[in-house]
């Protein structure tokens, strides 16, 4: 793949993809904190938001490090989907 296109796609993944992933994680962590760690809902939302930064950070490093840029985007989509499922199941519980 063209070098410039490669870098552009990776940067986009690092900036916007990671942000999307971080937001998704801030939703998905709420049921975990509530049901696994037994927090109040407000605390769970608060902690979920705090920990979403960790996911942002990890995802930025990951997007420049994965062998192919397509894999980066595939994985981000996949993880976002898993996060959505967690949020969805959390709503049902």
């Amino acid at each position: 793949m063209n070098y410039r296109l490669n870098i552009t796609l990776r940067s986009l993944a690092a900036i916007f993809g990671s942000y999307g992933l971080a937001v998704a994680s801030s939703f998905a962590l709420v049921p975990i904190f509530m049901h696994v760690f037994g927090c109040f809902k407000a605390d769970a939302v608060y902690l979920g938001t705090i920990f979403s930064y960790v996911f942002y950070f990890a995802c930025v490093i990951f997007s420049f490090n994965r062998a192919s840029v397509l894999l980066v985007w595939r994985d981000i989509t996949l993880v976002c989907f898993i996060f959505y499922l967690m949020h969805y199941i959390g709503n049902i519980l």
């Binding site: 990776r10 939703f27 608060y46 902690l47 705090i50 979403s52 930064y53 490093i61």
Partner: protein, 520 residues
Amino acid sequence: MKPDFRRCMIWLHTYSGLLIGWLLFVIFVTGTLSYFNLEISQWMKPELGSYKSSDKLLNQSLSLLSEQTNKSQRWQINLPTERDNQFVISWSIPDVKRAKRFSMILDSQTFNEIKVRDTNGGNFFRTFHYTLELRGFGGRYIAGIAAMVMLIGIFTGVFTHRRFFKDFFTIRINKLMKTLTDTHAVMGVITLPFCFVISFSALLIYISIYVPFSAQHHFDNGYRDLNKLVSTSLPKVTASNIAVEPIKDLMPFVNTVKTYWPEKAAIKSIVYEQPFDSNGRILVYRNPLISLSNKAEVLAFHAKSAELLAPIEPERTARVIRRIFYGLHEAHFATPTLRWLFFFMGVASCILIASGLIIWLNKRLDKVKKRHLGHTLVERLNIAGIAGLLLAITSYFYANRIIPLNIESRAELEVTTFLLVWFICLIYSFIRPALKAWSEILFFTALALLLLPLVDFLIEPNWLMQALEYKNMAYIGFDLALLFSGGVCLSIYKWLKGVIEKPEAKNIKSEIKTKERALC
């Protein structure tokens, strides 16, 4: 992309650092100055004088407050502290929408009102370091992005070292490039934990605007509701509607407070809620020197019976995490020694960022034969962003002393001076040869910094004399810091001059040699 993890990280370090380096430098310099926010403000408001605080000020302020109005719902007395020499009383009167607030800055010896010059003081640096004078235009988002990039820069920077220990113990001072690389490495290692805490806490402070969606989804009013749910506070005063005269003597309260908070000058401020109601309440706030958390410690009393009321419930872990990071970022708890340590960590981070930017350029200039437009741009922005910023900050202090006191919107004019000088430096850096522009701007800065205490003394000798008399360390310390940083700028200027002249000397020697050969 790159074949292995380490090279990937180096690439990321290089380019994320380059893109946001100047912004980070500005944020770190102004942020480092904000450690001495109150001290700088004290120097910039010399009318405040240099008086010591004591609990004896309290009763007289109460009688002053009761002279003002009998409609007030809330009185507040802020005692002067070692750092912040402002003795302020304020009162608020309920109005249709919001309570109107009035305040008076007092002389702690005569209890007359002091007219303080209109200036933002050190607070300008504090607000500038996270809003960049762009509040309402996304300034805080830009600062947040910078903090994130700093975190990435720290993480990736660790991988750039192959020999962590060896790098730490080497500084080669003969060649500009090698000195810079070694300085960058050493500063990086020293400030690693500091930079991590500062950048991460910066992100945590504005959680509500950086990742608001989860809170918006779960609560009607978003983060505002969430904030109310996670933090604890005292219940509101329930008015009994029985009018009484406010109490006149605060000493019993002060004596009770002393048994709870034994340290010297423990009281920062006192709030008297509903002074004209029999259910009035007195809140005593503690000087934040003990706790890392940014939650204010407070004792509440029933005003009439002097009975201690139930304390605020402790907060749960989620909130405490943010409180402590917030507290660490602001460092209000730091005693003078610790504060200086923080300050020097901040300075080291600034050096780290600046040296990184210069290394990027020099490494590339050595290799390329023909310059790219980007190289010139980086070169000039380095000059304006690093040396120019220092000059701009100095000019801000000059503006504070020189602009006449009765001019309208004087505080804005000071800020304008800062921005204008910075802009002039940018233009100047484009019209002069690079090394000349570096050394000239540094020389101006050094000269300005060294002359500033003198200018201050010439404008009004009394300020310094009074500070000396009362051992006002904030004022004296600021003057000393000016002289010291002026000296540092001057020595960098001299060293830079030496570096510029050396290659020329070599050239001359080789010319002589060739001439000799030609003669032979």
